[in-house]
């Protein structure tokens, strides 16, 4: 008898060991509190802290709500989230970004927010570009856009003054200035080239303006539906880029990622840097703010600057049992007041018109370039083909192709041919 009892105990123990946790996922506890789970994906220690503070504030304002924040390390977060969604685990609020929006919608994991947004008090203050991004997939707002990442040109004014070079306003001027700087002194270069890790997000943005007539929905096509890299302007833009690398950038920049770019800028070796607004935070404490300025990305020979935008936002999972409470939370977290606070603490651009107008921080000179750029008439926003099945592998193909071209092992024509074939034109 005793043995049977012990065996039963062992059995129960092993069952509970593996089934453990399933009983605690019930979403409201005995005290009647509603528990929301919130999955953060663009995790960093500082950012998680900001979110935790905001959550604590929300909980004290809404005593019946309890929010559990899940913050896996940045590198695994998107994958973990995909896994959890695909196994239909109960989640309420999730952070979605440009890379994952389409994927989650395709797999039917996000709730349509239309009824909520229609009745939202702040919908008119929410910038048009933010509304557009929310509706990026299937023209349905599956996410509430929260932060924007748009490129601008950072310039080391002290270095330019030293060599008597004016701040460039066109791409050709920036290319020329880079070459001038590099010719002036063997340890001086111009442009902080991004050689690895999503190179195309910067290299291609430099070329768009000199090509012109870019299809805004598919940035590798012109408006007539043709691939542009092999047309006259495209080829010239590619040759200019190669010339810029050879005569205006450190040879080593072929292997430069974000950190090396920043270092080149801080040391003054490369006084031109094209980056997102969160770079301001990275420069803080390392570079005297009076030594640099931010200007809108130079326009190309077409007279326009074509910018792509990165973004992230909040969404409600279809597995949520409390969508109304989840909406109440994200519309508070992503309201104009908290959105400004959040972006200030963390770096990207906020999505409310009123924040740029009323907040001293975002109306300061460093952010002015972005605020101007977002609404300027010569700015055109374009999209990378993130919906395409070719897109995920593109970063690696493009990086290797560009590196080979910059090193001179593959010709410009062959590189263009490879890229054209890759996109199937």
């Amino acid at each position: 008898m005793k043995r049977v009892l012990v065996a039963l105990l062992v059995f129960m123990l092993s069952i509970s060991l593996f089934a453990g946790g399933s009983s605690e996922s019930s979403s409201s506890d005995s005290s009647g509190k509603i528990k929301l789970t919130f999955f953060e994906t663009m995790t960093s220690p500082g950012r998680t802290q900001v979110l935790q503070n905001l959550i604590a504030e929300y909980e004290s304002l809404n005593p019946n709500i309890e929010i559990e924040l899940i913050s896996p390390p940045y590198e695994q977060a998107d994958n973990r989230l995909s896994m959890m969604l695909n196994s239909n685990q109960e989640l309420d609020v999730i952070e979605v970004r440009d890379y994952t929006q389409k994927q989650f919608v395709n797999n039917g994991k996000l709730l349509d927010l239309t009824p909520y947004i229609e009745n939202w008090a702040e919908k008119d203050d929410f910038m048009p570009v933010a509304h557009e991004i929310s509706r990026n997939v299937d023209d349905t707002p599956y996410i509430l856009t929260s932060c924007l990442y748009v490129k601008a040109l950072l310039v080391r004014t002290d270095i330019l003054e030293k060599y008597g070079i004016p701040i460039p306003t066109t791409m050709d001027e920036m290319y020329e200035a880079s070459k001038q700087l590099a010719a002036a002194n063997p340890n001086q270069f111009g442009y902080a080239l991004r050689g690895k890790s999503n190179t195309f997000k910067i290299s291609d943005v430099l070329m768009f303006g000199n090509v012109g007539d870019i299809n805004t929905e598919m940035c590798y096509e012109t408006n007539d539906g043709k691939y542009w890299l092999d047309n006259e302007n495209g080829k010239k833009a590619m040759e200019q880029y190669l010339d810029l690398y050879k005569n205006g950038c450190p040879a080593d920049s072929i292997n430069w990622g974000f950190n090396e770019q920043i270092n080149g800028f801080i040391s003054g070796t490369t006084p031109f840097l094209v980056q997102d607004p969160d770079v301001i935070g990275s420069l803080e404490g390392q570079l005297d703010p009076s030594l640099y300025t931010v200007v809108p990305l130079p326009v190309g020979t077409s007279g326009y600057r074509y910018l792509d935008y990165g973004y992230n936002g909040f969404a409600i999972s279809t597995t949520s049992k409390h969508p109304d409470e989840a909406w109440a939370f994200i519309s508070w977290l992503n309201g104009s007041e908290k959105n400004g606070e959040f972006c200030k603490a963390y770096g990207p651009l906020p999505v409310f018109q009123s924040v740029y107008e009323n907040d001293d921080y975002f109306s300061s000179d460093k952010y002015q370039a972005w605020a101007d750029e977002l609404v300027a008439e010569d700015t055109i926003f374009v999209k990378f083909p993130i919906d395409s099945e070719k897109y995920p592998a593109w970063a690696q193909v493009q990086e290797q192709g560009m590196q080979a071209m910059l090193m001179g092992t593959v010709s410009v024509d062959d590189t263009i041919k490879t890229f054209k074939e890759y996109w199937g034109y």
């Binding site: 292997n255 995920p392 590196q403």
Partner: protein, 292 residues
């Protein structure tokens, strides 16, 4: 009865091992035969060997070059890690003042994370502001900085040097422990028989610690092949695929391209290669043991 009872008591342990070790492993292998892509999970099905065909024939990431890179990465890292580690162990064998602190310092690198090591060394090797370039220029050995990580041949050499630096302590620790277990009588006897230091090394020390050597080399081989951290942080497999190994390409497939099917196919390739290697290696080392 007693045996049956033992089996029952072991069920939790078995379940644990199956659930957390063999289930994920089997799942990974199964995924290698499915079109498991995060972009469209609504249409999961078996596609036979298509993932393997795709990774081998991919015109943009040259599979054979990746395989060759993996071999170069393994052989040079392993040989130098072993030789330097063994030398280190021999040097640390005899007691001297401060040996404890000294070995602590020497072995410290083993405790660092591979990613952190990659970041530190990528600054040392930096082609613009790096320490090595600075030293070489000051010594007037070069005039303009070398692009250690931006020139294909130098890039492979640089990541291998970093990996050697990281792996030496492992052999040092393991072989030192083995060396300390060699009975002194053997040395005394061999000295009486007229053995010099070199002969002692080859006829006493090495044969005695051979089991440790065999197992550490096997372990280290597996780890080096499966170790993308340093390359990932230093060159991301570039420039132009020149430092891309199977393990880094697997990461690219999974974390950047969201293609779990092809990522798993790379995983299976690594597993099969290591399995064949282990079988042959153990057979060879065993037969030579028998012949002693």
């Amino acid at each position: 009865m007693r045996n049956k009872w033992l089996l029952v008591m072991m069920i939790p342990a078995f379940l644990f091992v199956i659930l957390f070790l063999y289930f994920p492993l089997a799942k990974g292998v199964v995924m290698a035969f499915q079109n498991y892509n995060m972009f469209d999970l609504t249409n999961l099905h078996f596609i036979g060997l298509d993932n393997f065909k795709a990774i081998i024939t991919d015109p943009y990431t040259n599979f054979w070059q990746i395989l060759w890179n993996t071999l170069i990465w393994l052989v040079f890292s392993l040989v130098f890690q072993f030789l330097l580690g063994f030398t280190l162990a021999l040097l640390l064998k005899k007691p001297f003042a401060g040996r404890g602190i000294y070995s602590g310092l020497v072995f410290y690198t083993w405790a660092l994370s591979g990613f952190a090591i990659g970041l530190i060394w990528s600054w040392l090797f930096n082609g613009q502001f790096g320490l090595f370039n600075d030293i070489l220029i000051r010594l007037s050995l070069i005039e303009t900085p070398l692009g250690f990580l931006s020139t294909p041949k130098l890039a492979m050499m640089s990541v291998i040097i970093t990996n050697i630096w990281y792996g030496v302590p492992f052999f040092g620790i393991m072989l030192l422990a083995a060396l300390q277990s060699v009975p002194n009588e053997l040395y005394e006897a061999s000295t009486l028989d007229g053995c010099g230091a070199v002969k002692q090394l080859f006829y006493v020390t090495i044969p005695y610690i051979k089991p440790t050597i065999v197992s550490t080399i096997l372990l280290r081989t597996m780890w080096i092949v499966n170790y993308p951290d340093i390359i990932y942080a230093m060159t991301n497999g570039g420039p132009v695929n020149s430092t891309n190994i199977l393990a880094t390409q697997m990461i690219n497939e999974v974390f950047k391209q969201y293609d779990y099917g092809q990522g798993s196919a790379f995983g299976v390739v690594i597993m099969v290669i290591l399995f064949i290697y282990s079988v042959i290696y153990l057979k060879l080392t065993k037969s030579s043991e028998d012949s002693i």
